[in-house]
């Protein structure tokens, strides 16, 4: 529906002003903060996307994914039997097999997400992108995070972008697809809105802000614009598409602010791992520290919490 794209207007100063307001929201304390933090933990996609990933550190990550918070802390909060695990584990395609095996060894069914389609730059031919997706699915990934070609957005080739994402969707098959928009490289908030709409129209299950490797990753103005696009798409078609901010979220306070923002812009139904994920690696450590503080009253030493 190219007609929707031509009428998109986004006023950047107004969005930035709205984002500034968010930082002034009252912070949560006590039991409510702990509850929101645990909710955030269940929405995390625990990620390791480095050049030096090997089976050993992927295995360590998968075990941490199964036990994100130390047992006795969860017992103190009376949440030890609620099955608190992270939302997914996110790795490069070459490490998908290791992740799947490690999770099987740990004895849980946390999904494995794989990045694909020329991550992180997306500047590879479409055939190799599709081949990469198919292989990742074969190796056992049940979620695929694809990357769009920013050049198509910057040159306004909306038809081309739609076609590309649609073919990736077909290549994913049964797997759940997240489309990474790489918003830091799209140039303007209006482009972010338009790219979100095209991605949703082409069949994405989630739209994701960034790869985590750009200069500017997930910021509140970009998140607000993407969430408004999701809401508009829901009003037009009745389909709920999920949202994932990724990159640059390091503190527990930021995680809670993102959750509050989702609640304000999209509503409570979006606050579940099926419709909201946080792409992060060191965030889990900070959340665990905050929970440790809530339970014991003091901050932990480095060895007191398990390394991810």
């Amino acid at each position: 529906e190219l007609g929707w794209i031509s009428k998109v207007y986004v006023n950047r100063p107004a969005v930035v002003r709205h984002a500034e307001q968010i930082k002034k929201w009252k912070t949560l304390k006590g039991n409510w903060q702990a509850a929101w933090l645990l909710k955030a933990v269940t929405c995390i996609d625990l990620t390791t996307l480095s050049g030096d990933d090997t089976p050993s550190n992927v295995r360590r990550l998968c075990f941490k994914a199964k036990h994100p918070i130390r047992e006795d802390l969860l017992k103190a909060l009376d949440m030890h039997d609620k099955g608190i695990t992270v939302g997914a584990v996110c790795v490069y395609p070459a490490r998908v097999t290791d992740a799947v095996n490690a999770l099987k060894a740990a004895g849980c069914n946390i999904p494995v997400a794989s990045v694909a389609a020329g991550f992180p730059s997306g500047q590879t031919p479409l055939e190799t992108k599709l081949a990469e997706i198919k292989l990742a699915v074969e190796y056992g990934a049940t979620e695929i995070d694809i990357v769009i070609s920013r050049s198509l957005v910057l040159t306004g080739q909306w038809d081309g972008l739609y076609e590309e994402i649609r073919q990736c969707r077909k290549a994913c098959g049964e797997a759940h697809m997240k489309t990474i928009l790489a918003t830091g490289e799209l140039g303007s908030l209006a482009n972010v809105y338009k790219a979100s709409m095209i991605a949703m129209m082409a069949g994405s299950d989630f739209i994701k802000t960034s790869t985590g490797k750009e200069v500017e990753n997930a910021t509140f103005p970009v998140g607000i614009v993407m969430m408004r696009a999701i809401k508009e798409y829901y009003w037009q078609t009745g389909n709920k598409v999920g949202f994932k901010p990724a990159g640059g979220i390091r503190t527990a306070k930021e995680a809670i602010t993102w959750l509050m923002l989702v609640k304000e812009e999209l509503g409570v139904e979006w606050l579940t791992p099926q419709l909201f994920r946080l792409g992060a690696s060191s965030l889990l450590g900070d959340i665990e520290q905050q929970i440790f503080y809530h339970v014991t009253g003091s901050y932990p030493l480095q060895h007191e919490l398990a390394m991810a």
Partner: protein, 545 residues
Amino acid sequence: GNTVLVLCPPEAAPPLLYLAELSGDGGALPPGALNVVTGPFPDLCRSLRAHPGVAAVTFLGTTQVPEVQALAWGSPCRGPRAGWARGGRVVVVVLDSADLDGAAAAIVGAFPWGGCVVLAQEGVLAPLERRLRARLGGLRVGDPLDPGTDVGPLPPAVPHPEGLLGVPWPAGSSCVCVSPPSQVFQPLLPPGDRFYPPTLITGVAPTSRCLREPAAGPVLVLLPVRSPGEAVAVASGLPLTATAAVWAQDVTTALDTAERLPQGLVWLNALNLLDPSGGCAGGAEETTLEEALREFGRPPWEQPPKPEEPLSPEEAVPDPEDTELAGAVLAARAAAPGWGRLPGASRARGLRGAAAALGGTRGTPGGNDGDNGRLQEALLRWAAHAEQMGGAVQEVPGGRALVTRRPLGVVGVAWSWPRPLSLELLPPALALGNSVVVVAPPGAAGAALRLRKALVAAGLPGGALAVLPGGSRGSGAKLARHHPDGLWLCGADTDWTSALSVPRVWGVPERVLGASGLDPPLGATRELELRCTRPHCLWVPAGAP
């Protein structure tokens, strides 16, 4: 530098009394600088008015207190000076190239207490309404001290909006009371009838009561318009509006609409941003900080008038007939828009031409060379002013404010001082784009006619200047009853009922033009500039950090 006495009704008293108490503690203000008196309102106002020690009176709060204003009214020329009431509604114009999410977020986030009227272009009416409903549904009503509340109770002594909205609706309109929806956990409306849920009203027209009388309380009215031009027309027709906002991404349309809106402060793609230093719109409707300071201060050449001294000798001078006045004001009103919209350079050319034409008539019988010379000089000086009246650009939080001054429209001058009319009073009003209707004693009629002829010959429209013989003390009231946009009283007087219809009334001090033979005093030029024009502030948000 003034001492202040605040009169307020008992319901509004607690915060003011607390403020007075705090300012006395620790010597923040010397004793007697800030005084607060509460009590039965009408009687206190009467005593205030009669007290000789009071120099100026101003009003705060809603504007629907005509009885109070009537009681405290004094002549603009003597007795306490009356300031204009502050406050009014916000008009938000949303055009089809607007960021609808941004507009809805700003409207609901700001939620101005005086009420808000949203004029949306038809193409975007439905999406905007849906977004407004979604956001209003998320507002929490509750205890104002609880940080989680968005909307508190109605202020004391404010009439409950239900009375205003309980009027039967025309068929097909909907009054939506948006209470907190059940999906979000929110406490129910707290007990007590001072809480009112955020309300969105659609399907009404400018004839409906909720538009004619602003309701205090969280009430939003949504009206469709067909085009930016129609939005400007509807916005101009709404009573009691103080500020406006234009939402459009198309820069040409946005700037053009903002330019044509009559409200004194217009935000572009923003809402309710205020300059904490009070620079371009010191919280009041249609005044800037400079004018607000003039309300509470007196230039050195202006003597405080003695209350009991008669302004001008009682003369039995016949005033012009109502029909004559009506005709003159009508002609002036017809000429004013065209003349006011010309660029300053064109107006300057007209005035210079008139000055040249006057120079040619030197030495004719009845003309006084000295006076003619002064008039020519005034015309030339104000022609130069007209060319240079640009405005100011002020840095404000989040952007820039372009502050310009616009002509008032039709300025009526009622002269009843014993000396003949000083024609140098007229060039300022003309140069800055107004049309002038003068009522003055017949003594200066000849010179006035010559001036008028010279102006028309130089290209001004015929209605731009009209001089009618008259000049009794009541001529001010007579002129006011024909609704000019500004009224200058030189010795004449006017009563409250007539003056209510005129937005700007000025009691002209005798020395503003300078004593005979001397130059005008320092600061008089700026005073005249401010009195012929009203401010227009366009708030343009600058790029994001």
